[in-house]
Structure formats: C-alpha cells, structure tokens
Amino acid sequence: MVDSSTNPAKRLLAATEADVRILGMVAVLAMIWLGFGLVTDGAFLTPRNLWNLSVQTSSVAVMATGMVLVIVTRNIDLSVGSVLGVTGMIIGVTQAELIPAWLGYDHPTTWLMALLVGMVAGAIIGAIQGYVIAYMGVPAFIVTLGGLLTWRGAAWWVTSGRTVAPMDSTFQIMGGGPAGSVGELATWMIAAVICLMIIAAILRGRHLRRLHQFPLRPVWAEWLVGSVYCFGVIGAATLANAYPWPSRIAQRYAEAQGIPVPDGGLVIAHGFAVPVLIAIVVGMVMTFIATRTRFGRYVFAIGGNPEAAELAGVNTRRVIMLVFVVMGVLAAIAASISTARLNAATNAQGTLDELYVIAAAVIGGTSLAGGVGKVAGAILGALVMQSLQSGMVLVGIDTPLQNMVVGVVLVLAVWVDTLYRKRSSG
C-alpha cells in the first residue's frame, strides 16, 4: 500500500489507509454545516439544532444500512417507506390496543413485545418480497414498486386509516426527547466505551498484522487515526451534553423528584438521544455483518459477479432473499423510532422515505452497479440528506422547493459517483 509517492497528502492517505470517499463525504458535510451556519447566523450550528438533526436522521440511517446490502447485490427496494408505514401501524396497534386489552396499560414489557411483533412483521414482509425476487425471478424494481403500493394500502387497512395514539410510555423512549435521552453521565460513559473500543480495534489490528507478518501502519498514523476518531466521539458527546432540557420540563421534573431548583433554573443535559444510539448500534451490527460474516462476504461477491458466486458454491438466491429479510427488520426498527417520536402511528408514516434512504446509501458511496458500498458511508449519507433538509427548513425554503433540491442532489450524487468510478478504474 505505501508507495514511493513524494506527494505528502498521498503519503498521509496511504499511511493511514484512509477511505478517500468517506473523507470526501465528511468534507461535504462540513461544507453544508458551515454554509447553513453562515446563512442562519449560527442557528444551524447550535447544540439544539444539531441534536435534533441527529434524532431526525436516525430512522433513515437505520434503513440506509440495509439499503446498502440491497443495492450491493444489484437490487433496489422502493418499498421501505411503505413497509415502515405498515409495520409502524402494527407496532402501534399492538401496544395501544392489543396488549392493553390483555395486560393493561404501561406494562413493563409492552415496548419489547411491540418491537418484536413489528420486527417479525418486517421480516415476513421482507421474506415475501425476497422470495419473489430471488426464487421467482421478478426484478426487485417491480416487486418493491408493487410493494410500495401494497404495503401502504396494508398500513391503511390495519385500522381503516385511523391514527393510533398514544404509544406506551416506555416505548416512547425510543423516539428521543428529554425522556428519551440518556443524560450527561451516561453520555460520557458511552463516549468513553466507544473510545476504548476504537483503541482496542487499532491494537488488535496491529496484533493480527504482526501475527501474520503483514506490513504495519506507521505508529504515528495509528495515533492520528485513533485521535481523530476519539476526538469525533468526544466532540459528539460534548455537543449532546451542551443541549439542556427545556426549563419548563426541567422544572416539572425537579418538582416531581423533589429536587431543589437553583437560581437561574435547573440545567439538565439531554446527552445522546436513544434513537441515535439505536442507529449507532444498528450501524455497528450491520458493519459487522457486512464485513465479518460469510453472509456479508457473499452479498458483496454476488454484487461483484453473480455467476462467479454461484459457481463458487454460494447459494445466491437464499442470500438475496435474506438481504430483503434484513431490510424488512430494519424498516420495522425505523418504524419503532418514528412512531415513538411522533407518539402515534399513522398510515402515512414513512411516505417518500424510500427516496431518502436510497439517496443516503448512494451518497454514502454505494454503487448502483453493485458490489461496492459501506454501511458507515450510508449513515453519513443519511446525515447529509437530513442536514440539507433541516437547513432548508431553518432558512425558510418551501416544501416543494425542498423536494426539488433533494431530487437534484440524488441525481448529482449518482453522477459524481459515476465520474469517480470512471477515473479510478481508467
């Protein structure tokens, strides 16, 4: 990897083995943030706005991690928004009507049962679509286009269009807000644990390379990479802790708990929001699946050359069906975040989400030609899309214009991707 290039920038990239695309996306994100920060006189860059941004990103980010696998296998899923809608309705009805009729309101396990029912429903929907695509040979584009209508219709059908509310009080934690955040101390502890994991991963990497006598990264490069990651994590924790609860809610909380309120009001930090943590955990699990398991390896092999994968003995149809099952489960997790945040399940939930999810995956470096994609990239892509949208809302751009910008950005992202691949392969 380390070539004799004298260009210091190239040497730096080679030594740190950095992913140029991810770096480019971080740069684009920084430009968007700074741009909106300037236009809104800093309102965009307040801890409050960035914290809300992170919560709004979670649902799309969760689904985008699965869309990476779908697109890597040269398929597409246009139905994720509708699957979110129908699983959201199922989750809502389960916890607001079915379980209360059986165990009463606010049973401690209601949230878990509702979540599991939703995930099973998502898995079944994904299995049906995946079966038709993989075993019956109908193109994914058509199957999921049909799914877009079918599952949206099914979402309406669950309650004949009635909105289901409110959600179970424990379940609502998944949606964020003051009660759905982990607080200052837990945020610091989570940040510390993540930093330790980063350091452990770097040490383990060095250990494995030494064990097999592969070339090692220079020590300064290891330090640089580790510090950049840890700095990012600590920065995010600091930001999340810099956004206090609204004073009224803090006041009420203090009265309920019997805590004396100091002069100038009680300051309770939000810390990381639970939906954001869910998205991070999903991202880590999906990265693990994509890079460390046979299933993930086969997903990429199928994307690179389906015939070769088949000849190598990979059961390609089963793998593709499983990819759609995973996508369905992730849509149900996203539905949980979304219904919990809204404190209601509506049959219009997730409308147009398929576009945001696909855009997030593509902006994050997933190639529509198949075989290439990164889960972390898709999460960053989701953050880019949400930053654009939130920024436009803050600036006061009308919704139709926002949609036009999102559409144009999607096309631009694919065009830039095409240019990048032409250059890197030619």
Partner: protein
C-alpha cells in the same frame, strides 16, 4: 498407458438440452489419474457445456457420471467441489470487487472460533499459495478487477489448487495469456499431472493443448466425433476431426463422426 486403473471420471451418454436445442448429445468421455485429456472443438461445439455438467453448474438431462467407478449425482458446484472437482473457467469466474484472498476462499471461507471471517488467516494462506504460483504477485489488498490478465489467471488457478483437487477442469486456460505466462501454465499442468491429478483441458485451438495432452476428445455440434491417443495421430488428423468430423485410423469414433467419411476410410467400422 494408465488404462490399467479404473477411470477417475467416467461420463457416459451425457445429454443436455436448452429449449429443444441439444447442446450436448449422447457424449461419453473418461479421464484417468495423472492423465491430461484435451477436449477440442469449435466454439459452440458443446465442450464448455459438457464440462459445466461435471463442475455442477448445469444439470444433465440424461447420462451417468462415475467418479472412481461410483455413480455420483452432482447437483450444484458445492457437490462437485466436495468430490474434488475444481474448475478454472474461461471467464475465470472471479468476483471483481473482492481481493485475491476473498476470491480464493469464496464459498469456503476460513472462520474464527466465533464463526466470523478470518481474513488475516485467509490472506496469509493466499500469500503462501500465490508465492509458489506467481512469486511476483504483490497486490493482495486490491480488488482483482485492477489486476492484469495473468495475475487474475493465477488467482483462479490458485483457487482450484489450494483445495487439493483430484480432477481439474481448465476451460481455455491460456486464452488471455502472453507467451511467458502460457509456458508457466504448461509447466504447472505437467507438475500437477505428475502428482496424479486428472486434467481436462478445453480449447478451440489445437496448438494450445496437443503437446500437453495424452488423449484428445473432439466434439462437433454437441456430439462426440471421437477420442484418440495423441501418440497415434497427427495434428492434421485432429484438425480433420474438428473441422469435418472425419475420424482417421487409430481413433475411437463417437456418435458425431461423419458417416460417409468413415464408410470410405474404415469400411466395416461404418457408423449407423
């Protein structure tokens, strides 16, 4: 020569049809341990199709495959590999987006105690086997898309050899190679032969395989023209078989041999 042992592979009366078109029609060929059999014929003669039945990519419509005299059923590539049949396809069948080690172990990954991929162990094994096959190969981290034709070929060969093949199928093994690399492949074939591996060499070009083969089987329009000991025939004889379907003396004719030519040259051996 090696006829004293039972054949390693015995494919009898193999047929396969795609929508009424008989791509392979009643073909019988065999292969002995340590033997190289060249499978010749024009493009579209059915060679690759026949061999894909043996490697598990296609399912035959009729026929029987025996390995070491035992009838076997090969329904997919995994079953073929389990029988020790490894194939190097003309297209190489590599996942271009993956690196050499991932391709080498595709479908047979080394895993850790926790059932996760052991990429370090796979890369290490890949470095060892590539070190023997192609010592100049250094690009272990790059996707195979970015490698040269010869380097890609060596990855495909390494994949077939690493898992101790007993039966090796090479489909147009030198088609994409320069003279030096072709010579390397020839050396490799001789070496594998000496280890008792049976090899099917498939080619449309007689010059590629004639000197390396012990026997040649010629196919035309999906049928077997005939099988000959290389020592008994000349290149021109074999060319006549490929082009005209004409079996000279010393050739065991198959169902695809041209009947008039046979009647003229071999009289009593005329085919129906």
């Amino acid at each position: 020569m090696t006829q004293s042992h039972s054949p390693l592979v015995d494919m009898r009366n193999m047929s396969i049809a795609f929508g009424g078109n008989k791509a392979v029609n009643d073909v019988s060929i065999d292969l002995y341990p340590g033997e190289v059999v060249g499978l010749l014929g024009h493009n579209g003669a059915g060679k690759s199709t026949l061999i894909k039945i043996l490697s598990g990519a296609y399912r035959m419509s009729r026929g029987e495959i025996r390995i070491d005299g035992q009838p076997v059923s090969i329904d997919n590539p995994r079953e073929a590999k389990a029988l020790g049949i490894e194939t190097i396809y003309q297209t190489l069948a590599l996942a271009d987006n993956l690196d050499a080690a991932s391709n080498l172990f595709l479908g047979r990954e080394i895993r850790t105690r926790w059932n996760t991929l052991d990429d370090a162990a796979m890369e290490s094994a890949c470095r060892q086997v590539m070190g023997r096959l192609n010592p100049n190969f250094k690009r272990f981290k790059d996707p195979v898309k970015s490698l040269s034709g010869g380097q890609r070929q060596s990855v495909a060969i390494a994949r077939a050899l690493y898992f101790n093949a007993r039966i090796l199928i090479m489909d147009e093994p030198t088609a994409a190679l320069g003279p030096e690399e072709t010579a390397q492949v020839a050396e490799l074939i001789k070496h594998l032969k000496s280890e008792g591996i049976g090899i099917f060499l498939i080619s449309h070009d007689i010059h590629d395989v004639f000197d390396l083969s012990d026997r040649v089987s010629v196919m035309k329009n999906g049928q077997l023209v005939g099988t000959a000991e290389v020592s008994q025939v000349t290149k021109d004889d074999v060319l006549g078989m490929i082009i005209l379907g004409k079996c000279p003396e010393g050739v065991v004719p198959g169902p695809g041999a041209s009947p008039t030519e046979n009647t003229l040259e071999e009289g009593p051996l005329a085919m129906p």
